[in-house]
């Protein structure tokens, strides 16, 4: 019994030592990681600062004007180039050109089977079946 206790105590000691060591190792590893990440963040901040400076350098009005003069056909804004919303023509009544075309071709009923709600229950089941069968055949 006493021997077992001794062995257990030694094992516990070795185990805790290993645990303590691993904790310590992990801590220093994490600390290193933090320092590294901080350095990376700093490097990213510096890179962002450079990119921001570069962006504002590339989009400086002087350069944009040169590019616009060369590649775009823009003109200065003047009063005669603006109209008020009221000056726009009224919106025309909505015309569904496709529906009109379908109606004209006489396909209106076939394309809208659910248009007549009263018709649905009176439709014989058999005829529907044959119809579907028939269409399936055609395909």
């Amino acid at each position: 019994m006493l021997r077992f206790l001794n062995i257990a105590a030694i094992l516990a000691l070795v185990g805790s030592a290993i645990y303590a060591y691993s904790i310590k190792y992990q801590t220093s590893y994490r600390a290193e990681q933090i320092v590294k990440t901080k350095l990376e963040i700093k490097a990213e901040h510096d890179a962002i600062a450079v990119l921001r400076a570069e962006w504002s350098f590339m989009t400086r009005p002087e350069r944009v004007q040169q590019l616009a003069d060369r590649y775009l056909d823009l003109q200065p804004l003047a009063v005669d180039k603006i109209v008020t919303a009221r000056a726009l023509p009224e919106r025309a009544p909505h015309v569904d050109a496709i529906a009109a075309k379908i109606d004209m071709l006489g396909l209106g009923v076939a394309s809208t089977p659910a248009a007549d709600p009263g018709a649905a229950p009176t439709t014989p089941k058999t005829s529907v079946a044959t119809q579907t069968k028939g269409t399936g055949h055609q395909r």
């Binding site: 510096d46 400076a53 504002s56 009005p61 002087e62 804004l77 008020t84």
Partner: protein, 603 residues
């Protein structure tokens, strides 16, 4: 055994054995010492422990002494401090009113050396000058020979040079990251921004102003701020408008072959300077010689006789006194004589003129009589109230005091009434005209973004609202049918006033060398922006009929600026002119002010 020793101790050794016992004695003594040292006899352990304790005490004493010695010795941590003091500090970003970057910091690498740690200074000099060709070898050798702990080899090296120096692997030579100030927009807004030197210390403009706010003190005390800790400073400038203004001004200066030109846009309700340019200017990325008078900020540092734009102040003084109203007439039959001076009109009408006519014909005689009607003291007091006789201070460290006549007599009042004899900074004149426009608030111009409430909180009210409205009417009338027709850009309801001053050359006013100014306000019914352009010695051109007066040069440039900048600043062009632009005047019985004027040809 014991008997033997006893015998040996008790009886002296015989004479014949004397040579051998000396030898034998040494060996024996060694044996005795070993026996005594390693014996486990308890009687000697106390003294032995004392000896051991003494030894350890001595050992710890040595270690402790060494620690104290090391503590007092100057260590490499000193280098870090020296480097931190030497490197360029971080500065806050400067943004325009819409958040565009005007000035920012980027990191660059600089090469430094610690002369005390260099092994072979000649070799180091040779290798470093090979890697950095711009460095002068002799000078570098001298610097490395010094006893200093820290010297710069070269500031702001390229990435390629940085790698080369790194690969030299010289002990005592290192690289350190520094902040470098960059101005992405180049010369746009340069006079407002100023610039910072290689140590990132503000030398001029807003950069110097920021340092004055305590940044430099912090750095000097050793608190280096990282860029994240510094909140950016938002200026009042609009970079797009500033570019457009500078572009039009540059075209104008070139077209009219002027020596110099300057232009500014100010928000009349907040005093913010929205855009500003003074040509010739400089690129803050390549800092110029600060003492070069040619590149001064003509709006703030130069003082000029503003010419007829000053008539607005005289007319406002007369109207505000209550003695004069819009229907009052002033005699302009003949030139006004005072002593040996004669005051002429540029557009002589040779009749009595009403106040609006005095303004639109820009009659020198009319305004001189107006000022005389008020008297010298009142004129002086009014100009002092309008801030024209004292030095105006803004955030910009550069400023200039106005040149005021020593003995201010009646003649001075007559000439100052039309802008000769008193030289002020153009921005100062803008402040006064803005007060005439915005309802009477004298707001000191600012280069930092601020709200209308903030601006008007401490602003003194210098004229009555109805006087302000009358001045806006006069400015508008002048753009409709007076000398300022060049700025009547459709849709913006602009009002304006020209000003042509003759430059003083060798003590005399010159007829050919002119200084022209132009003030315009838009829109005149609800004033928002005040535009000003000035030109130094513009030349008459064939298409202007050889005239070099303000309307032809400064005026046309201002017109182009308004046309181009209006949409950028969110001034919506209006199709219909406002029907009741001047309600207070109409209520006071001057209903005619709300009828748009037309024609009026010839002036």
């Amino acid at each position: 055994m014991t008997m033997d020793t006893g015998q040996f101790v008790d009886t002296p050794p015989p004479d014949g054995q004397r040579a051998t016992p000396a030898k034998k004695g040494a060996a024996e003594r060694l044996r005795d010492f070993a026996r005594a040292a390693f014996s486990t006899n308890l009687s000697s352990s106390t003294s032995r422990m004392r000896l051991v304790a003494l030894l350890f005490l001595a050992l710890y004493g040595v270690i402790g002494g060494r620690l104290v010695f090391l503590g007092f010795k100057p260590d490499p941590a000193n280098l870090r401090r020296a480097a931190a003091e030497a490197v360029a500090a971080a500065r806050p970003d400067l943004l325009d009113r819409n958040g565009e970057i005007l000035a920012t910091d980027v990191k660059t690498m600089s090469v430094f050396a610690e002369p005390r740690r260099l092994i072979d200074k000649d070799e180091a000099t040779e290798l470093l000058t090979a890697a950095l060709p711009q460095v002068d070898a002799h000078e570098l050798r001298d610097r490395l020979a010094s006893k200093k702990g820290f010297v710069w080899v070269k500031r702001e090296v390229t990435p390629h040079q940085r790698d080369e120096v790194f690969h030299l692997g010289l002990p005592g030579v290192g690289l350190i990251a520094e902040n470098k100030r960059v101005y992405p927009n180049g010369p746009i807004g340069a006079h407002v921004l100023g610039f910072a030197n290689i140590d990132n210390v503000g030398i001029a403009g807003m950069e110097k102003f920021i340092d004055g706010q305590g940044l430099a003190d912090l750095h000097g005390a050793g608190f280096s701020m990282t860029p994240e800790e510094l909140s950016p400073i938002t200026l009042s400038l609009d970079i797009k408008a500033t570019h457009a203004l500078r572009d039009e001004l540059a075209k104008g200066v070139e077209h009219f072959k002027a020596l110099a030109g300057a232009s500014a846009i100010m928000d009349v309700n907040t005093g913010e300077v929205i855009a500003m340019a003074s040509l010739p200017d400089y690129d803050p990325n390549n800092p110029p010689d600060i003492h070069d008078v040619n590149i001064i900020n003509r709006l703030n540092v130069g003082v000029y006789e503003m010419g007829s734009t000053f008539k607005a102040l005289t007319v406002a003084m007369a109207l505000d006194s209550g003695k004069v109203n819009l229907n009052s007439r002033f005699d302009a039959h003949t030139a006004l004589t005072s002593g040996r001076f004669r005051i002429h009109d540029y557009h002589p009408q040779n009749r009595a003129l009403t106040v609006p006519e005095v303004f639109t014909y820009s009659s020198n005689v009319g305004v001189a009589r107006m000022a005389l009607g008020q008297g010298v003291e009142k004129h002086k007091a009014f100009l002092r109230k309008m801030g024209q006789l004292t030095r105006m201070r803004t955030e910009l460290p550069e400023s200039a005091a106005p040149i005021v006549p020593q003995n201010w007599g009646e003649l001075n009042t007559m000439t100052i009434a039309f802008g000769h004899g008193l030289a002020v900074a153009p921005l100062q004149a803008m402040m006064a005209v803005a007060a005439l426009m915005n309802g009477g608030y004298l707001i000191t111009p600012t280069f930092v973004k601020r709200s209308e409430e903030e601006a008007k909180k401490d602003a003194p009210i210098v004229i009555k609202p109805e006087t302000s409205e009358a001045m806006r009417y006069l400015m508008r009338l002048n753009a409709e049918k007076g000398t300022a027709k060049k700025v009547d850009i459709a849709g913006y309801f602009v009002g304006g006033k020209t000003g042509t001053a003759e430059k003083v050359i060798h003590g005399h006013y010159s007829k050919t060398r002119l200084f022209t100014t132009f003030m315009a306000v838009a829109p005149a019914d609800k004033p928002k922006y005040l535009f000003m352009t000035l030109m130094d010695e513009p030349q008459g051109l064939p298409e202007t009929g050889g005239f070099a007066t303000a309307a032809y040069n400064s005026g046309s440039v201002t017109g182009k600026i308004i046309e181009r900048v209006g949409p950028l600043l969110g001034l919506p062009p209006r199709f219909e002119p406002p029907t009741q632009p001047f309600p207070i005047l109409a209520r006071l019985g001057f209903g005619f002010v709300n009828t748009p004027a037309t024609g009026g040809g010839g002036h």
